[in-house]
């Protein structure tokens, strides 16, 4: 008996060894204590919707079910759990609640099975087994669950088959097996699920939160068609959006606005951003650029602004250096620039460049997404790599499509005769994908001294084409 009392003074002063002892150990104890107090009062309703696959419909049902209790959690693909102990007297007891919940399911064209039990897994298991049980007393839990088939627990097929071979087909039978042997033969996970079923260990379910979205409508006092005035009318909406986003610590990348007219169908105008933004004024300014390119068929009577998808916005610190100074980076500026350019010129107006391993010049490059914001490169000095001197000379400019040149006496002409400078470079490829080319490329120089990249087709009629300018 001596050692325990002797150890006590040290527990407060010695720091807990980091890493070795699980940090959750004391929390686990706390969780147990509160759980024991809460468990007596919890009543879970398990809702099983057979033949129900769509998660979005399940979420809709969860949103409706939130009028009964804030503690609703989803069990995809076909289950819903509600903690109803506090709501019983508000909805006319268990019978009233059952009626209301069944009513909520009716618009979705499904017939739910509803069971009540002190633990969430027990309620759900009973519902999945098709038994509308009502278990109020924790002491009756194991007894009531005993006749249910094992399949309701949704264990792996292989485990169930092995249990069936041993003659274990109901929950009652599996609960009677010795714990240590069960864990060894069928896995700790299965034992843990039995413990949550009977309430030996707490079953913590994450509450469902309806996705937050922003939507505002503003009726105008008079019909407006001037873009400047429309923007002024939109300003309060963008202010509200900014406050909303800051309050939720979120940003948006996709924003939509609808202009409602008297007769014409409403005009929709969407704004996409390169990075999440939470600044209402900046969004308003970007939207102003976008609005300039939207034709309005009629004056506008009402405005609607909505953002469906909110993204978590992480605030960042500003750099000490200005971009362009030694050590300065230009991340924010780059994203802002892309947004501004796209808002005014359209989404496809900004793009990047990349090479492709292809011999046909028209396929050797590809337009890509705009380059990512400038970031410090880990490979600080790339001066050594990249430049391959063995490559044949290529022009800096490429024509979008080869341009046919006039030929006199077998030589190409463009503002006068062209002088061929180089030996031909033959590019003959692509016979396998239908885009076959067979060309002899030359560097040529025209009367004004401009160096051009021309080719002569190897097939009849041996046409001369201009394909690039050396610049």
């Amino acid at each position: 008996m001596r050692p325990r009392t002797a150890e006590l003074p040290y527990t407060g002063t010695t720091p807990a060894p980091t890493g070795s002892a699980p940090a959750t150990a004391p929390l686990h104890g706390v969780g147990r204590a509160t759980y024991a107090a809460v468990r007596a009062r919890e009543l879970w309703a398990g809702l099983h919707l057979s033949g129900f696959a769509s998660v979005s419909e399940l979420e809709q049902l969860a949103i409706r079910a939130q009028r009964f209790t804030p503690r609703v959690s989803l069990v995809p693909p076909d289950g819903l759990l509600l903690e109803l102990a506090g709501s019983l007297h508000l909805f006319g007891g268990l019978e009233g609640l059952r009626r209301e919940l069944t009513g909520e399911c009716q618009p979705l064209q499904v017939r739910p099975v509803l069971a009540f039990a002190p633990t969430p897994l027990a309620a759900l298991t009973a519902a999945r087994a098709g038994q509308p049980l009502i278990i109020l007393d924790p002491a009756q839990l194991t007894g009531q669950l005993a006749p249910l088939p094992l399949s309701a627990l949704r264990w792996p097929e292989e485990t169930r088959a092995r249990l069936a071979r041993a003659g274990v087909r109901t929950i009652g039978a599996v609960l009677r097996l010795p714990r240590a042997g069960f864990a060894r033969r069928f896995g700790v996970a299965q034992l843990a699920s039995l413990d949550t079923l009977t309430g030996r260990t707490p079953d913590v379910r994450a509450d469902f939160h309806a996705p937050v979205r922003f939507r505002r409508r503003h009726e105008l006092d008079c019909e407006l068609s001037d873009h400047g005035r429309l923007l002024a009318a939109l300003a309060p909406l963008f202010d509200a959006l900014g406050t909303f986003l800051i309050g939720h610590q979120c940003g948006v990348m996709q924003l939509e606005c609808r202009f409602v007219h008297r007769n014409a169908p409403p005009t929709d105008c969407a704004l996409s951003l390169a990075a999440p933004c939470a600044d209402g004024q900046q969004l308003g300014a970007l939207f102003g650029e976008r609005l300039n390119s939207v034709p309005l068929p009629e004056p506008v009577r009402a405005l609607e602004l909505w953002a469906d998808e909110l993204l978590p916005q992480r605030s960042s610190c500003r750099a000490l250096w200005q971009p362009g100074e030694q050590g300065g980076e230009a991340r924010e500026e780059s994203e802002g620039l892309i947004d501004r350019l796209r808002a005014r010129l359209g989404r496809e107006a900004v793009h990047g460049l990349a090479q492709r391993p292809e011999h046909r010049p028209e396929n050797a490059w590809i337009a890509t997404r705009p380059p990512a914001a400038a970031q410090r490169r880990v490979l600080a000095n790339r001066a050594a790599d990249g430049v391959d001197e063995t490559l044949p000379t290529r022009p800096l400019w490429l024509l979008p499509a080869p341009q046919l040149l006039v030929a006199h006496k077998g030589l190409p002409h463009r503002h006068g005769p062209l002088r061929l400078l180089s030996e031909p470079e033959r590019i003959e490829t692509g016979w396998w994908d239908g885009g076959e080319v067979a060309r002899d490329y030359y560097t040529a120089i025209d009367r004004h001294g401009v160096r051009l990249w021309v080719f002569r087709e190897r097939e009849q009629p041996h046409g001369w084409f201009l394909h690039g300018v050396f610049g």
Binding site: Q326, A330, G336, G352, A380, L396, W397, P400, G449
Partner: protein, 216 residues
């Protein structure tokens, strides 16, 4: 000061004489052509400001003249973007890469993919000014149709604000107009290089000189 006078040049070589120019020497961005560096005010392209390159015909070698500098800019550790605003043709990615330009720092605005008459007018100018002033770019190359002197002044101010090298390509007949650009040069193609004529430059050496391409 008579720069070309050999007596004064010898006198200036004395180590005790300190000249303000020697500090400024490092501020420019080397063009990659020693002869050109010598003639330019900061011994290279300005790092912040607008320059004009005037050509008789498109493709006279104006782009090749810039390539070594663009390669150096895109290869630095803290490289910002190099943006091409409304290029008349497609910049050919393999050629850029073989000149040493890092392609993931290159962005194109509008240009050959977008055959839109509306774009080449005012929006091209707008995009050029926005890009120059944003601070997100190391260099911006722009092809703008008939910019007015007031527009060029705006571009110059935007380039200074964004600490960006702006390059405006114009036809040679624009040499007669006044311009707010820091540096103006006109180029003509030669057999294996270009002849560069400095039209305007802050304390630059005037006159024409020939450059030869490194490979030829």
């Amino acid at each position: 000061m008579v720069v070309g006078d050999p007596k004064i040049a010898r006198l200036l070589e004395h180590p005790a004489i300190w000249r303000g120019r020697s500090v400024a020497q490092r501020s420019g961005l080397s063009t990659g052509f020693a002869a050109l560096d010598e003639h330019l005010p900061d011994r290279g392209w300005p790092r912040a400001g607008l320059i004009e390159i005037l050509v008789g015909r498109f493709g006279s070698g104006e782009l090749a003249l810039l390539m070594p500098a663009l390669a150096a800019l895109t290869r630095s550790a803290t490289a910002r973007w190099c943006v091409w605003v409304a290029p008349p043709l497609v910049p050919f990615a393999p050629a850029l890469a073989s000149c040493g330009v890092v392609l993931d720092r290159v962005a194109l605005v509008g240009g050959a993919r977008r055959q839109d008459a509306r774009f080449r007018g005012d929006p091209g100018m707008w995009a050029f000014e926005q890009t120059l002033g944003s601070g997100a770019c190391d260099a911006v190359l722009g092809w703008v149709r008939q910019p007015k002197p007031r527009d060029i002044r705006r571009l110059q101010l935007a380039a200074e604000r964004g600490r960006t090298l702006g390059v405006l390509f114009r036809p040679r007949r624009a040499a007669r107009e006044a311009s707010a650009a820091m540096l103006r040069l006109s180029i003509e193609p030669l057999a294996a290089g270009v002849r560069v004529t400095l039209i305007k430059g802050r304390s630059a050496h005037r006159g024409a000189f020939d450059l030869t391409w490194p490979g030829s």
